[in-house]
């Protein structure tokens, strides 16, 4: 369903943009963010993820996992298998995300020491993922409707022509007071994003280090989040990326959580 919606939005955008251009109308901040949100990502995807956490003393910790995701219509299922470090090897984590507005994700975890799959309470979107500099919201698809978007300017960075959009949350209690995003014009990739804390101070910056066209889809394969206040960075690198490879439905079951990645 989500893919259909994305396809519909893309189709609408493709049909609409030329007319807007002809009319001489500039793109809005809202539209630019929607285009990033709706950038096609395929029906399924699998990859190995390496996450490197580096502190202010230059000490690094590495987490490695294999991840699979698939769109099942009204549900998007994602499963992660932890491979490193040794004390978390064999742990798996499955998330079911729903199209329904406001419905929390279902999350289940398999811990090899307990030998059972547990349904767990859904993480807050503001929680940090595995001790990294990314919150769950940073990693997921924050819906454009949750913020007010304003196009600030157009700017060249890293040799790419970008729209610069400022987004202010509609929610009062959100962890960021605002974000500023640099969006590559022709690819709708958010190349850079600055996050500001509740006091309005610059908190962290996300930089896309590498993106690739895989099976016709733009996939970010290396990004780095730099927490300026904590002097801590997290690198996320994807490898062995496959898009639309036809992952079987049974990959997203309790059986596979127990069996692990093979």
């Amino acid at each position: 369903m989500r893919i259909m919606k994305k396809a519909l939005v893309i189709a609408v955008v493709m049909m609409t943009v030329p007319f807007l251009a002809l009319a001489g109308e500039a793109i809005t901040g809202q539209k630019a963010i929607e285009n990033v949100y709706n950038r096609p990502a395929g029906d399924d995807m699998q990859s190995d993820l390496t996450m490197t956490l580096t502190n202010s003393r230059g000490q690094s910790r590495v987490r490695k996992m294999a991840q699979f995701s698939k769109d099942f219509g009204k549900i998007e299922k994602k499963i992660m298998f932890f491979k490193y470090p040794a004390d978390v090897r064999g742990t798996s984590f499955m998330t079911w995300s729903y199209d329904e507005a406001g419905r929390d994700d279902d999350q289940r975890i398999y811990l090899p020491a307990l030998k059972k799959v547990k349904r767990i309470s859904s993480d807050s979107k503001s929680d940090y993922f595995m001790g990294s500099d990314f919150t769950y919201d940073d990693l997921g698809d924050r819906h454009p409707a949750e913020d007010i978007h304003k196009l600030l300017r157009e700017e060249m960075i890293e040799g790419e022509s970008c729209y610069v959009v400022e987004s202010t949350p509609r929610e009062d209690e959100y962890i960021y007071s605002k974000t500023v995003t640099w969006i590559i014009k022709d690819k709708w990739i958010d190349l850079k994003k600055s996050f500001y804390d509740e006091d309005g101070d610059h908190l962290k910056t996300l930089m896309v280090k590498k993106y690739e066209n895989i099976s016709g889809f733009w996939i970010i394969t290396h990004s780095q989040m730099n927490n300026i206040q904590k002097k801590h960075t997290t690198d996320m690198q994807l490898s062995k990326v496959k898009v639309n490879s036809g992952i079987a439905n049974r990959q997203f079951t309790e059986r596979m959580m127990r069996r692990g990645v093979r």
């Binding site: 956490l53 910790r61 590495v62 549900i75 490193y84 470090p85 040794a86 004390d87 090897r89 079911w96 729903y98 929390d104 279902d106 289940r108 020491a113 307990l114 030998k115 059972k116 799959v117 547990k118 349904r119 767990i120 309470s121 859904s122 993480d123 807050s124 929680d127 940090y128 595995m130 001790g131 990294s132 801590h232 439905n249 049974r250 079951t253 309790e254 059986r255 069996r259 093979r262």
Partner: protein, 413 residues
């Protein structure tokens, strides 16, 4: 057993169509080494445990067949070294079914730290409930078949040979001497369950995960892991004194049960219940020959998990109830217990503080287990905590003198 295993394996190997010689193979060795030291807080601060462990997990896969073994060695300061296999089994994986044959730990149910439908693997209580759950469960030799229908699973388990609970040694701080009015003699002639096909244990479970609710329904025919103490009192003709003869005997139990978990807002609600038929209880009824009576018995739990202020909380309320109760039964009709877990991570998930507590509502007893775990580097953990028993009777109060501080240093590889 070997013949039966071969009979089971032969059609499986046919189904597999033979394992192709060029099938991808891999062997991995993982595990941990750990030092575990605990000191009693009362008296002359004896060591409750001084243990060094090597736990090795070996996995070899070849196509649709996996072999897993988990040997371990425990060195103790005051008792013999243990060398054993926690698990050792063969997995055969077909399109819609998995077969697991060998020594294995099997875990069912949704309860945490409470054994209701989770009854296939017996418990090692030689160190009470304090070891990690992976170490409390004893592996059983079994054949387990899982048949998958989408997100639903039908699981069948056959345990050909009975394994009882491993109880504390008589010189252990966890040993509780049975109380009798006069010193008894023991007759162990019925303690063993003869190893034959008729004495097998079988279990069946249907489980499902859905967007609304995850649930399991199970049934089993098993042996009570704990023996019933049959008590025979007579008069010794030569001395004219009363004589007490105690005969421990395991009895057959039939049980049905189920469990569920579901998400409501930011909460996870869990429940689990089982009815046991054939459970024996000690009775003071003078009309009873062996001072025991057979009654139905239920064991139920309701739990709630949630996160508040970045702190994970879990509360479980547990009730054990003897059905058709009569006042001559020594045990209470109902035994109520509450468990509370509070846990929070700090320093980017390298430091974890946790408090797990059991409260015995019948006897005003409790066990409080605060602990702190710090990952010095990835895979190298230092853990320290306390086990504090309160009360003077019941499951926890009886160990009031066993309060201890403990530390574990663990390196995983």
């Amino acid at each position: 057993m070997k013949k039966i295993t071969l009979l089971v394996l032969a059609p499986l190997l046919l189904l597999l169509g033979g394992v192709p010689p060029a099938a991808a193979q891999s062997t991995t060795f993982t595990g941990y080494v750990r030092n575990y030291t605990a000191i009693l807080l009362e008296g002359d601060q004896k060591y409750a445990i001084l243990q060094d462990t090597l736990d090795l997990k070996i996995e070899h896969s070849r196509g649709k067949v996996d072999f897993k073994a988990n040997p371990y060695i425990n060195f103790f300061h005051n008792k013999e070294t243990e060398i054993d296999l926690r698990q050792s089994y063969l997995d055969i994986m077909l399109d819609s079914a998995d077969f697991r044959i060998g020594k294995q730990q099997i875990v069912w149910g949704k309860a945490d730290g409470v054994f209701i439908t989770d009854v296939i693997s017996p418990k090692d209580l030689s160190e009470y409930l304090l070891p990690d759950f992976e170490e409390i469960r004893l592996g059983v030799q079994a054949l387990k078949i899982d048949y998958y229908i989408g997100d639903h699973t039908i699981e069948f388990v056959w345990v050909p040979d009975f394994t009882p609970t491993k109880t504390p040694a008589t010189d252990s701080i966890w040993y509780v001497k049975p109380e009798f009015s006069i010193s008894p003699t023991y007759d162990y002639s019925k303690k063993e369950v003869p190893s034959n096909f008729g004495n097998s244990e079988i279990f069946l479970k249907f489980s499902a995960i859905t967007s609304l609710i995850d649930f399991e329904i199970m049934a089993g025919s098993m042996w009570d892991d704990d023996p019933t103490m049959h008590i025979n009192q007579s008069i010794d003709i030569s001395t004219n004194q009363p004589v007490l003869r105690v005969t421990p005997e395991h009895h057959r139990l039939e049980l049905v049960g189920g469990s569920f978990s579901t998400s409501i807002g930011g909460f996870v609600v869990r429940g689990e219940s089982a009815f046991y038929n054939g459970k024996y209880f000690r009775s003071e009824d003078p009309a009873l020959k062996d001072k025991v009576v057979e009654k139905g018995y239920t064991h139920s739990l309701l739990g709630l998990d949630f996160t508040i202020w970045n702190t994970r909380m879990s509360v479980q309320v547990i009730e054990q109830q003897i059905q058709d109760y009569d006042e001559q039964i020594v045990s209470d009709e109902k035994q109520d217990t509450v468990t509370i877990l509070i846990s929070r991570d700090f320093l980017r998930e390298t430091l974890k503080l946790e408090l797990f507590s059991y409260f015995d509502l019948n006897n005003a007893g409790s066990l409080l287990r605060p602990k702190m775990a710090y990952d010095l580097i990835d895979g190298f953990q230092i853990l320290a905590g306390f086990n504090i028993f309160n009360g003077n009777k019941g499951n926890y109060g009886q160990y009031d003198g066993n309060d201890m501080v403990f530390a574990k240093v663990k390196y995983s590889f």
